[in-house]
């Protein structure tokens, strides 16, 4: 936005502030959790915590992928459609008798291709990211529906479908997947030079270019990562709901972007982190979980979600201004 004072939770910079910022969103999450624990007995049951971790997991992974793109000052509207589409692909492959490992690899490869196509559109065809990813959003849902003929494909592979329900060391496997994505994502974004390049491209692509950064490759990288994360979530979703269905995950792109922004990412690029979007996703999941447990009318739930988003981002804004 043009009025907003751009703030930085940049790559290394202001380390203290960046961690404090993370901590404060953690603080918010903890406050939410404590309040919910007081308000309802069910909240702090192991069962519910498992649920919560499962529920936030998919958005969290999408949000991390989305963050890479947003840091380059782009946007990826297609992630929800990619999730639905890849759920169809993996179900289709499994139904066709393709071995599980191959089906998974092929599905992720399709994620890579979609991301590469987005970057191609942006870099070579000069299309705005908003447009190219909106177009694939529309088309991918169409292709997925065409494959399933508008219905769903059941997945009979039990190994695959029980995975999302399983626990490991008492923690839901879906949440482990968040960790599996987040750790390399953290290393990539905050510790490797490619992460720095993402920030540089988002901040001033011309300056990055004149400094020898391969801007096009960086853009490819960002979009491929986002789409691959989405394809990965497509696998998880297929595992969780046991079917492939192209209309699933509708609107998840907005949730992913919202998680990312709540987690401190700037839509103007060059500001963002890996832990922020994760926290953002789990804050949103907590709001929904809590509203369900408190038996809030689902209409009120929407109203409250909207208000809480405003309040959370506002306080975060205030705090960050204060920190300067």
């Amino acid at each position: 936005m043009s009025v907003e004072t751009v703030e930085s939770a940049g790559p290394t910079p202001k380390k203290g502030v960046s961690i404090l910022f993370g901590l404060t969103l953690v603080g918010l999450l903890v406050v939410l959790w404590l309040l919910l624990g007081l308000a309802t007995n069910a909240f702090w049951t192991p069962n519910n915590i498992s649920n919560l971790l499962r529920q936030g997991a998919m958005t969290a992974i999408l949000a991390v992928g989305q963050t890479f793109v947003i840091i380059t000052a782009g946007i990826d509207l297609s992630v929800g459609a990619v999730v639905g589409f890849t759920s169809v692909i993996v179900a289709w492959l499994l139904a066709a008798g393709v071995p599980l490992w191959l089906a998974i690899i092929a599905t992720l490869a399709i994620g890579v291709l979609i991301g590469a196509f987005h970057a191609f559109g942006i870099v070579r065809m000069g299309l705005p990211p908003f447009i190219i990813t909106l177009a694939t959003l529309t088309s991918l849902r169409g292709i997925g529906l065409l494959i399933t003929n508008g219905s769903t494909i059941s997945i009979t592979n039990d190994a695959f479908t029980t995975f999302s329900r399983a626990d490991f060391l008492g923690i839901p496997s879906l949440f482990w997947m968040v960790i599996v994505v987040a750790i390399p994502a953290y290393v990539f974004l905050h510790l490797s030079r490619f992460g720095r390049y993402l920030f540089a491209v988002g901040s001033n692509s011309e300056a990055a270019r004149l400094s020898g950064v391969n801007v096009n490759r960086t853009i490819y990288l960002a979009y491929i990562l986002s789409s691959t994360c989405a394809a990965f979530v497509g696998l998880l979703l297929a595992s969780r709901i046991g079917i492939g269905n192209a209309t699933q995950a509708e609107g998840w792109e907005l949730q992913a972007i919202a998680s990312s922004v709540i987690g401190g990412t700037s839509l103007f690029g060059a500001v963002g982190s890996v832990h922020g979007p994760l926290l953002g996703a789990f804050i949103l999941a907590t709001i929904n979980n809590g509203a369900n447990l408190l038996n809030v009318n689902s209409f009120w739930q929407r109203i409250i979600t909207g208000l809480l988003i405003i309040v959370i981002v506002y306080f975060d804004q205030l705090r960050r201004r204060g920190a300067r």
Binding site: V6, S8, G10, P11, T12, P13, K14, K15, V187, L191, S192, R193, R196, Y197, F199, A200, S203, N204, E206, A207, A208, R209, L210, S211, G212, V213, N214, A270, V271, R324
Partner: protein
Amino acid sequence: MIGLQEVSHRHDEQVRAAGGRPVPKGAPILELRSLQKNYGAVEALKPATMTFLSGEIHAIVGENGAGKSTLIKLLTGVIARSAGEIRWCGETVDLATPNEAIARGINAVHQEVVLCPHLSVAANMFLGDEMNRRGLMRKRAMTGAAQGVLDDLGFNLPANAELGSLTIGQQQLVATARAAMRGTQFLIFDEPTAYLTRQESAQLFRLIRRLQGEGVTIVYISHRLEEVFELADRVSVLRDGTHVGTRAISETNEAELITLMINRTIEQIYHKERFEQGEMIVETRGLSGPGFRDISLSVRAGEIVGLYGLIGAGRSEFALGLYGRNPVSAGEIFWQGRKVAIGNERKAMDLGIALAPESRRDQGLCLNLPIGVNINLPVFKRLTRGLTINRAQEASNAERQIRDLNIKTPSRRVLASAMSGGNQQKIVIGRWLSHGAKLFIFDEPTVGVDVGTKAEIYRLFARLLEKGAGIILISSYLPEVYELADRLHVFRQGRLVASHDYRAASHEEVLAQAINA
């Protein structure tokens, strides 16, 4: 054609209507009492008490980061002061918003051009003060009036061009024309000549004198001391946010000002050492591309090749072509005797070319990233160990450049946008010093850099040459290229029109060739 006179006249009346009480010439018009500005812990301006007299040209000088721009921003309502008082025409004023400053007739041409790149020149000149008839804008009248003002000032610029399509120098002229047209009582120029050639500077000086003649009070900030002596009536010096003194121009000299500014003396600004010229590093033959045609020149190890010309002469375009940023349409490049094609920036860097581009804002810096990242941008590959960056080395590398170039910052984690103009320039230079190269192209490297640092940069050039590098120095500041270049090429309208050896031609001769007089 509507001239400056008529347009500004219209505004003059507005200004008076807005309540500016006339002040006799020579009486205090603007007084600062213990004016102060802190950015968090940074004391950008320590309590300063100064007086500006009506109708004078008052220069302000000081090192990079001394607080000059901060002072200007306080006077124009851009930022809020931390403490102190401002008195305008004898009464205490708030100056809390740009609007208030404008309403009182205080205007500024800021150091970094702040205009709207997507709007036309005319739209920018009239922004916030459009001519209207029955609620609608009189676009044609405004374009005409703007063109009239530009022509009247002798600026050869089309009023209907999109601002973003102009070079920064030209944008600077637009900002100047705009401020002049607004009909002010108090006009501040923050390093207006940074991107101007002598030709344009001369035009600007005429404009300033003319405004002074009309009773306008002028504040003039510059790192070029000879300009200060040419123009100003009085000069104030800032050092580290402190006002260390004000002198009548007739009672001081360059040496005294420099001592006041940097608290030591410099015997020679244009530090020049001549080295044995070594092997041929690069040679272009008939190189053509967007903005330049048929350029043949060469650079040897130990040699500074200067490129001089007016704004838009094609020097920067030539540099970008050589660096692989822009496609070359014809001609050949020989690198150390071998014919090469430089298809992209990476290729140029791998060969050993470094480019410090002319616009630090658009091409040089990632403004909302930390200084450290900006300095290390080209060398992250080198700093990578395995998968990740060696953070200790990343830190030490950045710290070293900050120290060596004397970049004024509390930490390498500060965002580049929080740096003063000159310090930003040093970051861009520091980046390439840390990267290293065989051929350094410096495009306007000392724009906005203070005298002390300038001397350091020139000394640095000598160190680079000593190590066997070659330098292409592009500058619109004739004394600089003139004093430093072993070979000086003059560009005009995209062509190389003349070449001279070190100090072989006079200033006047070079200038005449540049403007085809």
